[in-house]
């Protein structure tokens, strides 16, 4: 992996050069522009129809996605050659953040641009990219990602859906059930994982009118009601051999690596939603008066606001730092055909992406909870909006790998590196103890020492 300056999880054992760190202060004009476009879209197009989205008028979502597509908000991560904009991963994070406050619509949007499109962008053949990417970039088609099954949730690779090549050797025959599939009702393409001959975990692109594909009823959910969630059933569903994605037996490389980018993006959306919640709450506490003054003036309120803001600052900082790292790993691979290299590069920052997901989703949950609390009784009443934020927030700790699964991934990755001899755990441990005991001189200012301590 000599091509990378930074290696995955290196923050655990080496120090950082601030010059190499990407921060929101480094946004270019292009970044600002796509951010402004996305923000305007969310505020002007989505928010005004929020109530209809919440009432599950599902025809609205494809209409809004088409508008988003016209503005380039679905195309940022798709190469220009296939009708996309070919922008960097920073832009992806920015759009994710701006769409974050839009609840159910945002989930539909992000699900489409990330886990439903990226498998084709990074692992598709030339023909597959030509056929699908322009339509997915424009919003003419919408995508879904079908991994979860009744008996395979966190343990996704234990999927029971099967794929068998027919006698003529032209089609795979799929059998099985996927559950909780986002966007199912309005999707045109489904990325489906199945085991070839019941053994080899493999990805397929299935179109909605494939014979033998059917949808279950709409699930009744706690939140993100605007995004459709249904089961997708395959009964002797015939899928052309050309729609096999990647290699037979290597579907896990696609499934898991695409989730890395999905987790990063989910974190971005959570930061956007948190900022929105804080803004709405500040407006409320400045208007609401009790004991003869605005509740904003009470020191306890101020402390809550400061704690929310500090957490959001940290979340925003780690999201864009990770965006910079992913861009470094993948920036020049948008149109690469070396799928093994792509897989490797996408997996390099798995720990950082898991942290984005866990940390930012928990910042959002914290913010949503405090936002609701500061609204008092109004927080519990629908028309003030805090209630929806609270309900919508909760799913982020569950999907794209529960926060527990993501937490477990973090130390496991480090220990795997140690076992492979890529990290010398024993000497790093000694070094940490020496530092703790103060035998390594610390010369930097106090601001820095704080960080040092954490590292130990």
């Amino acid at each position: 992996m000599e091509r990378l300056k930074d290696k995955g999880a290196s923050f655990l054992f080496s120090s950082l050069n601030p010059e190499a760190l990407f921060t929101p202060e480094d946004f270019t004009e292009e970044h600002q522009m796509i951010g402004a476009t996305a923000r305007r879209f969310a505020e002007k197009e989505v928010t005004p129809v929020n109530e209809r989205i919440e009432n599950q008028e599902f025809e609205l979502i494809p209409e809004l996605m088409k508008k988003a597509g016209d503005l380039g908000l679905l195309a940022h991560s798709i190469p220009e050659k296939y009708g996309g904009l070919g922008l960097d991963k920073i832009s992806k994070g920015i759009v994710g953040e701006m769409i974050g406050p839009t609840g159910g619509y945002g989930v539909a949007h992000s699900n489409h641009t990330c886990i439903a499109t990226l498998p084709i962008t990074y692992f598709g053949t030339e023909e597959q990219k030509k056929k699908y990417l322009p339509k997915l970039a424009s919003g003419e088609w919408i995508g879904a990602y079908c991994l979860t099954e009744p008996n395979a949730g966190s343990d996704a690779l234990s999927a029971q859906t099967t794929a068998v090549l027919n006698e003529e050797g032209t089609h795979y025959c799929l059998n099985g059930t996927k559950i909780y599939i986002t966007n199912a009702v309005f999707s045109d393409t489904f990325i489906v994982y199945a085991k070839v001959d019941g053994e080899h975990f493999t990805a397929f692109i299935v179109e909605k009118d494939a014979p033998g594909l059917s949808l279950g009823p709409e699930e009744k959910k706690m939140g993100i009601k605007g995004s459709s969630t249904r089961s997708v059933v395959f009964e002797d569903c015939l899928v052309s051999k050309e729609n096999l994605l990647g290699e037979v037996g290597r579907g896990h490389v696609i499934a898991l690596n695409v989730l890395n980018l999905g987790r990063f993006n989910l974190g971005s959306a959570c930061v956007g939603a948190s900022k929105f919640g804080l803004k709405r709450t500040m407006k409320f506490v400045k208007e609401r008066r009790q004991f003869g003054k605005e509740i904003a003036r009470f020191p306890a309120t101020k402390q809550k606001i400061a704690w929310m803001a500090a957490r959001i600052y940290a979340a925003e900082s780690l999201q864009y730092r990770t965006a910079g790292l992913i861009e470094e790993a993948l920036g020049d691979l948008n149109d690469a055909n070396d799928h093994r290299l792509v897989g490797k590069q996408m997996g390099e920052f798995a720990v950082e992406c898991a942290i984005c997901k866990v940390f930012s989703s928990e910042v959002l949950d914290y913010t949503a909870d405090e936002a609701l609390q500061l609204h008092g009784g109004a927080g519990f009443i629908k028309e003030y909006g805090a209630e929806q934020m609270y309900r919508d927030s909760r799913i982020n700790r569950i999907f794209e790998g529960t926060n527990e699964i993501n937490r477990l991934l973090i130390p496991t990755y480090l220990f795997k590196k140690a076992m492979k001899g890529e990290v010398d755990l024993a000497s790093k441990t000694k070094e940490a103890i020496a530092r703790l005991n103060g035998s390594v001189p610390q010369t930097e200012g106090t601001f820095f020492l704080k960080k040092r301590q954490l590292k130990q």
Partner: protein, 127 residues
């Protein structure tokens, strides 16, 4: 790294079964990545614009660090109790407490009020 090393030392390759320790370790790593990202972002901004103009970032960073440090110390102490015993535990515990408390001696009550006032002024999250 100390905690990671200890876990490895105590359990070896069987550590995947020690989920309680792994979860704690994950939280230390998350705290570190978050704190480092905030601190270096602020530091970079100070290098470019000076402390005065970046006072908002400094305040937000300090508030975040204070919370994270307490949490780091708490988790580290739990892990030490789970993973070590006797003299080794006592020595490491003392080091961890001493190291962490060196930076917990500042009060942020006043600074936090200022953070809120600044945000009220702009009516949105700014840094």
């Amino acid at each position: 790294m100390l905690q990671a090393g200890l876990i490895y030392e105590v359990y070896g390759p069987a550590l995947v079964h020690e989920q309680e320790a792994l979860m704690n370790l994950a939280d230390l790593a998350i705290g570190l990545y978050a704190a480092e990202s905030a601190v270096y972002r602020t530091y970079k901004a100070i290098l470019n614009n000076g402390e005065e103009r970046e006072s908002a970032k400094i305040a937000l960073t300090r508030t975040f660090l204070q919370k994270t440090l307490w949490e780091t110390e708490r988790i580290s102490r739990v892990l030490l109790v789970d993973l070590t015993e006797g003299e080794k535990r006592e020595k490491l515990m003392a080091s961890v407490i001493q190291a962490c408390s060196r930076y917990q001696s500042f009060s942020l009550v006043y600074e936090n009020r200022k953070i809120a006032d600044r945000l009220y002024d702009k009516e949105q999250y700014v840094c």
